[in-house]
């Protein structure tokens, strides 16, 4: 009996040494995990990213240079505890080489924390937009081929102040961190470029009756020039309906929206109510570029509806991964190499529906920001571009003051201040006197 045991041990040791000595085998299967909410209220944010990934994979027949690609998908239910467990599942059970996702703000923050503890799995973030994921908490293995909330709205503030000529704006939004960040980015762009005051009105996340807010807006219309809707989903639809019911469209010129207000799924819900809405984003569905047209049509063919920016995120993430795989000859089992390759990917306007982009040293894209307007073309509502700001980083106009920008406190429902004097006093503490004086001298940012 003993000898049998010994034989087993010997064979085991032999097999192990052989495995150790034999040359590294090429990967025989590339495993990719997707994580995001695919059930519950946030389904659209996870599902569209997943669809985008599937579309990109189908373009290549789920293969990379003949090596089959297997896609695993996990639902977070928008709960970070569940997400953490499933990230562990993808890593330990499915042994994935790459994770794409998650999609929501709080999920994103939790994913960075997980990534810092598991630096051997590259993560390409889906739709999550909190800036700290690629700023104060940035970690090397996590790269975001997406956007930050502020990145896309800094220049919208400038546009409203300079091009639309507004001085005072009211922001009405849901009371949680994503809209707070949107408001903060807008305030920076608006006040630094000639705007005077921004009033923030917060309502509970689930509110659908805005009559008291509408009455308030009516009363404030003498003082303020415009209103920016800073909500999402059903709240936007309710807000727009009541906006017209209360006749506010006759009092204010037009409604402005935060980045997510007029995205494609929302246009279907809002219908003609959305006509004329201004907003800003790193993608616009009306982009006539061949890459975008091809993406839209093939997505429609595969999933029966036109895609939104959320799907672009999954599609681009997969293509970034493909480009990185090309660079390392498909050796995805070396995470360090893979992560480096991903960080060095540069996407051209021919490759991405959104236009060209590349990653900054924190892993967030430097990309075009489009100021968009909703119009009707051939009976279809879509966003067309009004103005393009090229190569905007996540620090926006503060690209060369990244450290100073990150030294500022986190945004809250009333930070940064919404009045010009108080705001300038506040930024002087972080950006210095010279910066504020230059702003005053040039009446805004110098392009």
């Amino acid at each position: 009996m003993m000898s049998r045991k010994k034989i087993f041990t010997l064979v085991g040791v032999f097999a192990l040494t052989m495995g150790w000595l034999s040359p590294v085998h090429a990967v025989d299967e590339i495993r990719i995990g997707h994580i995001g909410p695919t059930t519950g209220w946030a389904t659209i944010f996870g599902q569209q990213v997943l669809n985008g990934i599937k579309l990109a994979l189908a373009e290549r027949d789920y293969k990379f240079r003949g090596i089959p690609i297997k896609l695993f998908t996990e639902d977070t239910k928008a709960d970070v505890e569940v997400m953490r467990t499933k990230l562990d599942s993808l890593k330990n059970r499915d042994k994935v080489h790459l994770i794409i996702g998650p999609s929501l703000g709080h999920e994103g923050m939790a994913a960075v924390d997980w990534a810092a503890r598991n630096p051997d799995v590259p993560i390409l973030v889906g739709y999550s937009a909190p800036e700290d994921m690629t700023m104060r908490k940035a970690t090397y293995s996590l790269i975001r081929p997406g956007w930050t909330g502020s990145q896309v709205i800094f220049h919208f503030g400038k546009f409203c102040a300079k091009d639309l000529g507004y001085k005072k704006v009211i922001i009405v939004g849901q009371d949680y961190s994503y809209p707070w960040d949107q408001a903060a980015g807008f305030i920076r762009g608006f006040l630094e470029n000639g705007g005077e005051k921004v009033l923030r009105i917060w309502h509970p996340v689930e509110a659908v009756d805005f009559s008291s807010i509408m009455a308030k807006l009516m009363g404030l219309s003498k003082e303020y020039d415009a209103v920016l809707n800073n909500s999402g989903g059903a709240q936007v639809v309710a807000f727009f309906k009541q906006w017209y019911q209360f006749g506010l469209d006759k009092v204010y010129p037009q409604i402005l929206g935060q980045a997510n207000v007029p995205i494609v799924p929302m246009l279907a819900e809002l219908g003609d109510l959305a006509l004329g809405v201004y907003s800003s984003l790193h993608y616009y569905d009306g982009n006539p570029s061949p890459a975008n047209q091809k993406f839209r049509e093939s997505y429609k063919k595969a999933f029966g509806e036109y895609p939104s920016v959320i799907a672009v995120q999954g599609y681009d993430a997969m293509h970034v991964a493909f480009k990185a795989m090309e660079a390392i000859d498909g050796k995805v089992d070396d995470p360090k190499k893979f992560i480096n390759a991903i960080r060095n990917v540069r996407m051209s306007a021919e490759e991405s529906p959104r236009g060209p982009f590349y990653f900054d040293k924190y892993g967030n894209p430097v990309q075009n920001i489009y100021i968009k307007k909703v119009v009707k073309k051939n009976g279809n509502l879509m966003n067309i571009v009004v103005k393009t700001y090229k190569n905007v980083s996540q620090f926006g106009p503060y690209a060369d003051m990244a450290e100073k920008y990150m030294a500022q406190p986190a945004t809250t429902r009333n930070y940064p201040p919404g009045e010009k004097e108080a705001y300038f006093r506040e930024i002087e503490k972080y950006f210095g006197k010279e910066y504020v004086e230059n702003l005053k001298k040039n009446n805004g940012w110098v392009d």
Partner: protein, 321 residues
């Protein structure tokens, strides 16, 4: 008599088997299984605190996750913002959750039935609103991250899952023993007396309010203990952990396993948490299957799995007797 003896032998037998299985788990299973068991342990503590109130007092609470979360938030804040060394954050966290229970307890001890449910729902939502709106302290929906489990006897429980597993196991078993002892004690008997006939207990001279008050605080204490392990293991906390969803999930786990017993609470949590991860990997329609499962349980085993199994055993014994 003979029957009871054999039942006890079975109980001891199962006890020994499960304890030895639990003690050796990290050596015969994968890290993945250990992770799942850790999850079941901390959520199990939360479900047990609910099951204790439900079983002993007939109180169905929708705010146990609030105490779970209060402890978790205190640990996270004290550790990340004030860098307090190890035993202090969890001790303060549990103490604060218990204090919160003492405060909320004053409001709820007079209510029963649906009114208790409604009141705990409101208070639970209050804690949730605080967690999500008081951003300067709780970081709002973003939540607090980078909480690391402590070093114990020179071993980092943040890095070694096995170490964390035993750390958690001690307190998990401890809370089972604590609650089971409470149930067996005269105190537990008095609680059941209140559950069955409050007026009679009052007439016998028991201070019904005080007894309930104590039970509420004890339950919160166990939930808080679970919360500490939750935040240490996941390394983060955000308003979701004190949300209605978490409370309802806890209640569902209780109903599934059997809300009147501690074993049922643990079993229900185990099944729910495992199915959640396992089924969702198999099919995207996993919530549908879980819904069907709940329907079947409610229809055919309204006492939950453990409750129904007990009932079956009892009727069988009566028949043979």
């Amino acid at each position: 008599m003979n029957d009871k003896l054999s039942l006890n032998i079975w109980k001891i037998f199962f006890g020994i088997i499960s304890i030895s299985l639990l003690l050796t788990l990290p050596w015969w299973s994968s890290g993945y299984v250990v992770m799942m068991v850790i999850r079941i342990m901390y959520f199990g503590m939360l479900t047990m605190s609910l099951a204790f109130l439900a079983g002993e007092l007939g109180w169905v609470s929708l705010m146990q996750a609030a105490f779970f979360g209060i402890a978790g938030y205190f640990v996270a804040i004290l550790q990340t913002r004030y860098s307090l060394p190890f035993p202090i954050p969890p001790l303060i966290g549990i103490a604060m959750a218990t204090v919160a229970a003492a405060l909320f307890g004053l409001l709820v001890i007079r209510t029963r039935g649906i009114y208790f449910l409604m009141l705990t729902l409101v208070l639970g939502q209050l804690v949730w609103a605080l967690a999500s709106q008081w951003a300067s302290v709780t970081r709002g929906d973003t939540g607090i991250h980078e909480v690391y489990a402590p070093m114990l006897f020179g071993i980092s429980t943040a890095e070694s899952k096995t170490a964390f597993y035993f750390f958690n196991l001690i307190f998990f078993v401890g809370s089972i023993i604590f609650l089971a002892a409470l149930k067996r004690s005269p105190f537990g008997l008095m609680l059941r007396g209140i559950r069955d006939s409050e007026s009679r207990m009052r007439m016998l001279g028991y201070s019904v309010g005080l007894l309930r008050y104590c039970a509420f605080i004890f339950a919160a204490f166990v939930a808080a203990l679970g919360g500490v392990f939750f935040v240490y293991f996941t390394g983060l906390i955000n308003p979701h952990s004190v949300s209605l969803t978490t409370n309802v999930d806890t209640l569902l786990a209780g109903i599934l396993g059997g809300i009147n017993s501690l074993g049922g609470a643990i079993l229900g949590t185990g099944i729910l948490k495992m199915l959640d991860v396992w089924l969702s990997g198999v099919t995207k329609r996993y919530l549908l299957f879980m819904g069907i499962m709940f329907m079947l349980v409610i229809m055919f085993a309204p006492q939950g799995i453990v409750g129904t199994a007990k009932k079956r055993l009892e009727t069988k014994r009566k028949k043979t007797a």
